[in-house]
Amino acid sequence: MSAKNNPSIAEKTAKLNELIAWFDSDEFELEKALDRYSEAEKLAKEIEQDLLALKNNIQVVKDRFSEA
């Protein structure tokens, strides 16, 4: 699956930062604010869910290092 269809947490966080920055930019328009906010809220929820769902994979790959 491409990164576009399945963005990583970092990509989603970058997108969220971009959306939040829009509210402070000169491009801000009150008429568009509600849609942008809904989009940011959805993204924030996704990031939270992604973070909580991720598990680490811990593997003992070698347990004897006595021989040179």
């Binding site: 809220e41 939270e48 991720l54």
Partner: protein, 366 residues
């Protein structure tokens, strides 16, 4: 009479038999004592005596086996094989020597620290940053140690999606430095290189932690092509391995905190970011409302001003009209005359409150 059953051997055979017997009885011994007459011959061979109040024994080893600096007067523990030389001299062939007791450990630490510092192994310019959010890391530690358990727990609490390749090694004792060196070489030679190598060990005595002051190990850490994060002992413990690492952690738990971000903190940050947007929108709405209010006020002011202008005009007009009212003139004492002004004609004179009929007797120009 001489006992013919006695074992009779040549000198060489006797030495070989003695060594065989010693090897069988004491394949490896650890002997503790104070170093005396320490010297290095031809830059290769190390000789010293190990002594205590009970006696003295000669020791031999190569320079390459000497992994910590020692000098006369230091108390050390040697791991060695007893041997009778072909010249009939008894000695210990030393494989490992390590300082014993706080004073010697400290002395050895300072000697090696000064040497490696001079070579620039601990220089800040050599330090590399760790990736902010690594995806693949290697961990070198004892999987049975509490420090390892703390590290893994905190990693799992803080972050996810991380591939952790663990190399299990001894983290104390004579074999520990070599095992850690081998583990470092192993991870550095992988096709799929980890982004960070983490070396951890929980707290312990100065002797327990002395493995992390081994010269070869310190050099291997400094030479690692993968950035290293070392967390050994408690906050107060500083090892040479720590100093050679790219990043030093105070403890194994601290190493986990340095290695990965805290997902709960990221979630809180995202919520804060989102929360910060609403006041901004509210502020803009308030500004828009204030703008509209200002415009309305301005319009009202204009209407009010126009009204006053019209009202003032109308009032003046009324005053003028009022002044033109003939009854007002009569009130001021004037009289209104009606009729033809010619001698002999009858005219009517109206005053404020009376009407007079009069005859005109004479008319002349003023």
């Amino acid at each position: 009479m001489e006992n013919t059953n006695n074992l009779r051997l040549g000198v060489g055979d006797f030495i070989a038999l003695t060594n065989q017997t010693l090897e069988y009885a004491y394949p490896t011994v650890e002997v503790e004592g104070e170093v005396a007459s320490f010297k290095v011959n031809q830059g290769k061979y190390v000789f010293f005596d190990l002594k205590d109040e009970g006696g003295s024994v000669g020791c031999f080893m190569t320079v390459w086996q000497l992994r910590v600096p020692i000098e006369d007067g230091m108390k050390v523990i040697v791991t060695a094989t007893p041997k009778l030389t072909q010249w009939g001299k008894f000695s210990l062939t030393v494989r490992v020597v390590r300082p014993s007791g706080e004073g010697s450990l400290k002395k050895s630490f300072e000697l090696l620290r000064a040497k490696l510092e001079k070579e620039g192994l601990f220089a800040n310019e050599r330090k590399r940053p760790l990736p902010t959010v690594p995806k693949h890391v290697a961990d070198i530690s004892s999987t049975q140690a509490a420090g390892y358990a703390d590290f893994i727990k905190i990693i799992n609490d803080r972050w996810g999606g991380l591939q952790v390749d663990v190399g299990h090694v001894q983290v104390q004792g004579a074999d520990a430095p070599d095992q850690i060196v081998q583990a470092l070489k192993y991870f550095n030679s992988q096709e799929n290189l980890p982004e960070v190598i983490v070396i951890i060990r929980g707290g312990g005595s100065a002797d327990d932690l002395s493995a992390f002051n081994d010269e070869l190990l310190v050099r291997e850490i400094a030479a690692s092509r993968i950035p290293t994060l070392v967390g050994v002992g408690h906050e107060v413990d500083i090892s040479l391995a720590d100093m050679a690492a790219d990043v030093r952690a105070a403890t194994p738990s601290n190493a986990a905190q340095i290695l990965v971000p805290d997902k709960q903190e990221i979630i809180r940050q995202v919520q804060r970011q989102l929360g910060s947007v609403l006041p901004r929108v509210e502020r803009v709405v308030a500004e828009e409302q204030a703008g509209v209010k200002r415009q309305l006020e301005h319009a009202f002011e204009r209407i009010d001003s126009r009204y006053e202008q019209y009202f003032d005009g109308f009032s003046s007009l009324r005053r003028v009209i009022r002044e033109l009212d003939p009854s007002k003139v009569l009130q001021r004492g004037y009289a209104l005359i009606r009729g033809t002004i010619a001698e002999g004609s009858v005219i009517e004179i109206e005053k404020q409150d009376i009407l007079i009929t009069a005859e005109v007797r004479h008319v002349s120009k003023k």
